[in-house]
């Protein structure tokens, strides 16, 4: 029922642009995370004078930027109704490849991870779209495969390749402008491109349509295979890029990164209002979701003396609360 409804919504959107009601619906879905984010930032600034400092906010921004890049790709994947569990491993792989390839120059350190991680996404996308295997299984295999590849490059993780301080890519990863790291600006630019792609292009419409109802989308003549493959390639590319830049920031291809990261990424996307069932969502919501995770983490550290197990309880409870509020808001909206 809801599936066909969202599909129709996508069709009307394609034909005549969003109506007022749909716009309000989307706005509220997006607002769930953004509203809580604003609230938390306000509370944080009120309660901890070390929270609203430039250094601290810059720290949240740079830490969140890598998660955000990966989450951007994941947003597209989830809107098509898919999932990509491989991103954490691919992120780590991208970092190790960048550090491995830096011996041939900074360009190689950027291109090798992009090529390999893009290829990873391509294979996963083909298996999902062409062979019609379940995304969950394909990308779970990808998670293991990428981690295995990483370990084989790094001698079972015993070798950590380093990126020399002077390398161009290191300067990109570590440099900052007005106290904000370069990767943050790049992430913002990528999100603008992502938003345009999703909201203003035929490709974006196809992404929504597939997530709404695959059969209906096919009948409408949406290029199913091409679109699906494209979103998994995007996800692989963005995870690889984020990994490479993160390695540049850390000056080394750390091998232990990214375990469990896929869950944070998925959480950020879903908190941002993208439906796990596909068909609805936005990249701006994802930004709010990612920042929300970062701010929660930061506030827990501000409190300072919470034991590690309670930290997880608190962040889990926060997330649950956000999702409940959001679901409630969107349900009310739908009933009307």
């Amino acid at each position: 029922m809801t599936e066909s409804m969202t599909a129709t919504a996508a069709v009307t959107e394609a034909a005549a642009g969003p109506t007022g009601r749909e716009r309000a619906f989307g706005l509220i879905q997006r607002h769930g995370a953004a509203a809580v984010l604003v609230l938390l930032v306000a509370i944080g600034s009120f309660a901890f004078d070390r929270f609203p400092t430039g250094a601290n906010l810059g720290n949240i921004a740079i830490t969140s930027s890598f998660l955000a890049m990966v989450a951007l790709g994941m947003t597209f994947v989830i809107i098509t109704g898919g999932i990509d569990l491989s991103v954490g491993s691919v992120f780590a792989l991208g970092g190790v490849l960048a550090a491995y390839a830096v011996r041939w120059g900074s360009l190689a350190a950027l291109l090798l991870p992009l090529a390999v991680c893009g290829a990873f996404g391509l294979v996963q996308g083909l298996l999902i779209a062409r062979v019609r295997l379940a995304p969950f299984i394909v990308t779970l295999a990808g998670l293991l495969g990428a981690r295995g590849l990483l370990l084989s490059i790094s001698n079972e993780g015993a070798t950590t390749y380093l990126i020399p301080r002077g390398a161009v890519i290191a300067r990109v990863g570590q440099g900052s402008l007005f106290g904000v790291g370069y990767p943050v600006y790049l992430t913002l630019a990528l999100f603008v491109v992502g938003a345009v792609l999703l909201q203003r292009t035929r490709f974006g419409q196809s992404v929504y349509a597939i997530g709404g109802s695959e059969d209906a989308a096919e009948l409408m003549g949406v290029p199913l295979t091409r679109t699906k493959v494209a979103v998994y390639v995007m996800s692989g590319l963005l995870a690889g890029l984020a990994g490479a830049l993160n390695a540049a920031r850390l000056s080394s291809g750390v091998t232990i990164l990214g375990t469990g990261m896929e869950l944070d990424v998925i959480a950020a996307v879903v908190i941002g209002g993208t439906l796990l069932t596909g068909g609805a969502g936005s990249v701006s919501g994802t930004v709010a979701g990612v920042l929300l995770l970062g701010v929660i983490q930061n506030l827990i550290n501000q409190i300072g003396d919470l034991s590690s197990s309670y930290q997880q309880v608190v962040s889990g409870a926060f997330l649950a609360a956000v999702v409940v509020v959001q679901t409630y808001l969107s349900r009310v909206q739908r009933l009307r």
């Binding site: 380093l162 000056s251 550290n301 501000q302």
Partner: protein
């Protein structure tokens, strides 16, 4: 306005909850501290290694009691080593009257730990004690700390950087020697010949690498009659250790010795051996850590020997920091002396295990 009031109430609640947690933890620590008399002892005499002074490093002097000190833990306090380590740091800080100790936990996510430490710096930490999750990748932290001349002491794992320039000093065990000592115990237990299996720690971890290399090198040198016929990772986890040992019993029934690179895996192995109907001592187990659970298996014969890796860093770390701030020369590397437990002393000293 009402928002403000509400927000304040909310924060008050949160802080209360936090205070509650902190209190219960402190109680636990006090208990642990009473029984756990065994403090770390530095092994290396200060004269033999290069030293570091506050002038050479270029840090600012401050009063430890009123200053802000940050402690960054790498993993959740879910295993005995991390529990004892964090408790030791916190209780020592309390003992010394350090009012402003800020602690964070990286939850085994390296990027989170980096961001944790950066946040500690942003919160005004004047000195940092770090238990690094990984040895490489500390560039952003080192740069920020250097810009503010913040002294860093790393505990239990090293950071790959220059001592007395990027960080002040490292306090920890020598994992390679731990592996060698485990090998010595294995040689003793097996009488110099037989087949041995290794339960490796997590891949890509220098603790694993060092404990493996130390063990293998020592065997090669001292007991060529012992062969290593099986090695697989147990990820430092009990269940994984059990699982791998179950496979081991099936695939290599002739194994006479098992080297577990931490106690949790050794305990998993004991469970697996019991489940397979083996008798205590049929397969000799040697492990590293010195947790109470493992040491208490020695008298029954399930575990032959345990090499200690002492996690009680608090007293030594703060002593080093105090000396450093007082302008004294401190060693650039402090290797602690670890004990070992075997049948001869396990019963008497199990109470001092953690």
């Amino acid at each position: 306005m009402t928002h403000r009031v509400r927000a304040a109430a909310f924060v008050a609640l949160l802080t209360l909850a936090a205070a509650g947690c902190a209190k219960s933890e402190d109680d636990k620590q006090a208990g642990a501290q009473d029984t756990a008399g065994q403090q770390q002892v530095a092994q290396t005499p200060a004269g033999n290694v290069p030293t570091c002074t506050i002038d050479k490093f270029g840090a600012h002097k401050f009063d430890l009691k009123s200053g802000v000190v940050g402690f960054s833990q790498s993993e959740k306090e879910a295993n005995p080593f991390r529990i004892a380590e964090t408790a030791s740091i916190k209780s020592e800080a309390k003992k010394l009257g350090i009012a402003n100790l800020k602690t964070t936990n990286g939850q085994s996510q390296f990027n989170k730990q980096i961001s944790d430490v950066q946040q500690l710096i942003a919160q005004g930490a004047q000195a940092l004690v770090i238990a690094p999750l990984n040895s490489d990748g500390w560039e952003p932290v080192l740069q920020q700390a250097a810009a503010k001349h913040i002294p860093i002491i790393t505990v239990d794992r090293q950071i790959n950087a220059t001592a007395c320039k990027d960080y002040v000093t490292f306090i920890g065990s020598d994992f390679y020697t731990q592996g060698k000592r485990a090998a010595d115990q294995m040689i003793k237990a097996l009488g110099g010949k037989g087949k041995v299996a290794i339960l490796l720690g997590a891949s890509g971890n220098n603790v694993t690498t060092d404990r493996t290399n130390g063990f293998k090198d020592e065997l090669k040198q001292k007991a060529p009659g012992i062969q290593i016929t099986f090695q697989q990772t147990g990820d430092f986890a009990r269940e994984k250790g059990q699982q791998v040992t179950e496979q081991l019993i099936q695939s290599n029934p002739d194994v006479g010795g098992l080297y577990a690179e931490n106690d949790e895996m050794a305990l998993g192995a004991v469970t697996a051996l019991k489940g397979a109907g083996k008798k205590a001592g049929q397969i000799k187990i040697v492990s590293v850590d010195g947790t109470r659970n493992a040491v208490s298996q020695i008298p029954g014969g399930w575990i032959s020997a345990v090499i200690e890796s002492n996690p009680r860093f608090g007293p030594l770390a703060f002593q080093t920091l105090t000396n450093f701030l007082n302008g004294e020369a401190i060693p650039q590397k402090v290797i602690i002396s670890d004990r070992e437990y075997d049948a001869s002393n396990a019963k008497q000293s199990v109470s001092s295990a953690y």
